[in-house]
């Protein structure tokens, strides 16, 4: 299991590895924030007092509040750290939901073909043509009623945007894999359609999912913040959310209060960059077209004097061998 996880990492080299490592490091820090927020953050995300004394309103950064306080008397550093928990929870859920819905849909559509496929492709393409934020806005607007403004509602709104992407990739891979020899072989030994999809195709089409998943996660962080900024995301009493904090900072910015803007935004940029780096790094290791493998130095057979060849009967073989070596070298 562990070797399976690190094997793509070991295949990387140079730039790709550097990208992957720095991405994993940044993402890891934020996941640590998310997991251990109660221990790392100095205060609660909705804490306004300590020992009965109220925090200052919009106080600049100092020893007690490293990132200052905001207009609701909250500690900005604590809200940034707690915000990581919200972001990680929402994004992990939304990636999970969209994989669980998008992948089987794409598999089915690509495998069955016919009108089911055509209708689904058309529907998904139309959804994909919509501005993604608009789609997320509509869904969070709708889900607000039945689900409230919590983590699940936010995750589902993001899911709606990303399903078409998994669907597309999986469907296209399935279409090209459907006619492959191994599928034909499976069919020949009498495998049912369900088995072919579940056992044979699934393993092959699933490979690109981690890359899309990480890149979507990066995008989802931004979209979640955008929803929060528009007042449609997580409700402020439920959890701390970076986008919401930035919408509160709108009035501060022109007044020269920079700390309520700079820190939550920096958290978003760092996490998005980290996830993008992981995605790009994975892409370069998983996608053979992009992979730069260090070529093994080609060992030419020692150049024998011609007398040696003349003595042997099998000259043709020796010459032929030499040619193949040279060709490989050129490549």
């Amino acid at each position: 299991m562990l070797t399976g996880l690190i094997s793509p990492f070991r295949r990387t080299s140079g730039m790709a590895r550097w990208i992957l490592v720095s991405g994993l490091f940044i993402t890891g820090v934020f996941i640590a924030f998310a997991l251990f927020a109660p221990w790392i953050a100095p205060y609660d995300f909705n804490q306004q007092t300590v020992d009965g004394v109220k925090f200052d309103k919009m106080a600049p950064p100092d020893g007690d509040h490293w990132f200052g306080t905001n207009d609701q008397f909250y500690d900005v550093l604590s809200r940034v750290i707690w915000g990581a928990r919200t972001a990680v929870e929402v994004v992990a859920l939304s990636v999970m939901f969209s994989v669980v819905i998008g992948v089987p849909l794409g598999l089915l559509s690509g495998f069955v073909g016919g009108w089911v496929d055509r209708v689904l492709v058309f529907l998904m393409d139309s959804l994909y043509a919509m501005p993604s934020l608009l789609l997320a806005i509509v869904f969070s607007f709708l889900l607000r009623g039945p689900l409230g403004g919590g983590i699940i509602a936010a995750a589902l709104s993001l899911t709606a945007i990303y399903i078409p992407q998994y669907y597309r990739v999986v469907r296209n891979t399935t279409v090209s894999a459907r006619e492959a020899t191994y599928v034909e072989a499976a069919r020949a030994i009498g495998a049912k359609n369900g088995t072919i999809m579940g056992r044979y195709l699934f393993g092959n089409v699933i490979q690109s999912v981690p890359v899309i998943g990480t890149l979507n996660a990066a995008d989802a962080i931004g979209t979640l913040a955008a929803l929060g900024f528009l007042g449609l995301g997580i409700q402020p009493n439920e959890a701390s959310e970076w986008g919401y904090d930035l919408s509160r900072a709108l009035d501060d910015a022109a007044a020269g209060i920079w700390w309520t803007t700079v820190f939550p935004g920096m958290a978003i940029v760092l996490l998005v960059t980290g996830l993008t780096l992981v995605g790009e790094g994975l892409n370069e290791t998983v996608n053979p077209a992009l992979r730069k493998r260090r070529l093994r130095p080609v060992q030419l057979p020692p150049h024998e004097p011609s007398t040696y060849l003349a003595e042997k009967d099998d000259t043709r073989f020796a010459v032929g061998d030499r040619e193949t070596v040279e060709k490989r070298d050129e490549r």
């Binding site: 959804l127 709708l142 910015a253 022109a254 803007t261």
Partner: protein, 340 residues
């Protein structure tokens, strides 16, 4: 040549005809989501203010008591005639919202594209020419960060930086300009020009700088990446090699032969970025208190006005689909390779 140009009208026709089913699907999806799913829009928007009888009257007046398929067919027919319905909360025809606020969104996005091209293309070309140098790496990092940064954060940072200088940081014009300029086209910049009020024009342009630059930065990141990759590819092409072999100076090879071809895909990408631009515009408008469609949408979202949200969302989706297809067509006219 002959085969390519012969198929052009057909290609254009095909693309244009595709608009119709795409729009139909979008309108239907928006209808299903916003009219069928939520239950009762009237009590959501004005519930609590009116008693049950009055609510029933409002429902009847809006036609919400009829079967859904009748409402659906009527909505389709109305949208075809550019009638997007009326808001529930303040009885405003949505086409008036589009007329009054669409202009601000239009000038915002056009200005943003201008900035994006002015920033993205030169930086992309420069980075591509000096591949793997320090300037290439820093330009690429700049591109990544402008893309990773939420647009409202970039906007807020610019406000923090610019506000002390007194440069306008919100709204489309100062109150005096708004009062002076008579609405004709309802695109305030054009109206000020028609009136020949150049002080107002300058004031409006000044207000445009920060929001357009902010939205432009987001798109510039996309252009930098694209142009850089293209110039790298083009510089490796045979015809560039041929030009070099003919003894043409390197500077000339790059300017006359490589750059031009590296820029063709930019048009395609503009088509693909229309959706991203609209998403960005909604956020930019909220950041700079810009009186555009995005701000209206957010206001009606807060008011829980389903009819208004449905109308505005439908309109934005239609604009995105039509613009994307038009850019596709334009692209086919310019670049014969696209048609195949």
């Amino acid at each position: 040549m002959s085969a390519g140009s012969g198929s052009l009208p057909r290609y254009i026709l095909q693309r244009l005809l595709l608009i119709i089913p795409m729009m139909w699907v979008l309108i239907t999806v928006v209808f299903i989501l916003l009219r069928v799913a939520p239950g009762d829009p009237v009590s959501a928007a004005v519930g609590g203010k009116l008693d049950e009888e009055a609510l029933d009257q409002r429902r009847a007046a809006l036609g919400l008591d009829r079967p859904l398929y009748v409402q659906y067919l009527e909505y389709l027919g109305n949208v075809v005639r550019l009638n997007f319905g009326e808001t529930i909360s303040d009885n405003r025809p949505i086409i008036n919202i589009i007329r009054d606020n669409g202009g601000a969104t239009l000038t915002l996005t056009l200005g943003a594209f201008l900035f994006a091209l002015l920033i993205g293309i030169p930086l992309g070309l420069y980075a591509g020419r000096r591949r793997d140098t320090a300037s290439d790496v820093s330009i690429r990092i700049f591109g990544v960060i402008t893309y990773a940064a939420p647009i409202f954060w970039t906007g807020l940072l610019l406000v923090i930086l610019v506000a002390p200088t007194g440069w306008p940081t919100f709204d489309i014009a100062s109150p005096i300009t708004k009062f002076e300029v008579e609405p004709v086209t309802r695109i305030i910049l054009v109206d000020a020009m028609i009136a020949g009020n150049w002080d107002a024009v300058i004031d409006i342009l000044q207000h445009h700088v920060l929001p357009c630059f902010t939205l432009g930065l987001l798109l510039a990141g996309v252009f930098i990446r694209l142009v850089r990759v293209n110039i790298l590819q083009t510089l490796k092409d045979d015809y560039v090699e041929a030009a070099r072999a003919r003894g043409i100076a390197e500077r000339h090879v790059i300017r006359r032969h490589a750059f031009r071809n590296a820029l063709v895909p930019v048009i395609t990408v503009i088509g693909l970025q229309v959706a991203l631009t609209m998403s960005g515009a909604i956020l930019t408008e909220k950041t700079f208190n810009w009186p555009g469609l995005g701000t209206q949408l957010v206001d009606y979202l807060t008011a829980r006005d389903y009819a208004a949200v449905q109308g505005i969302v439908t309109f934005i989706a239609i604009v995105v689909v039509i613009t994307s297809v038009l850019v596709d067509v334009l692209n086919a006219v310019i670049d014969p390779r696209v048609r195949y």
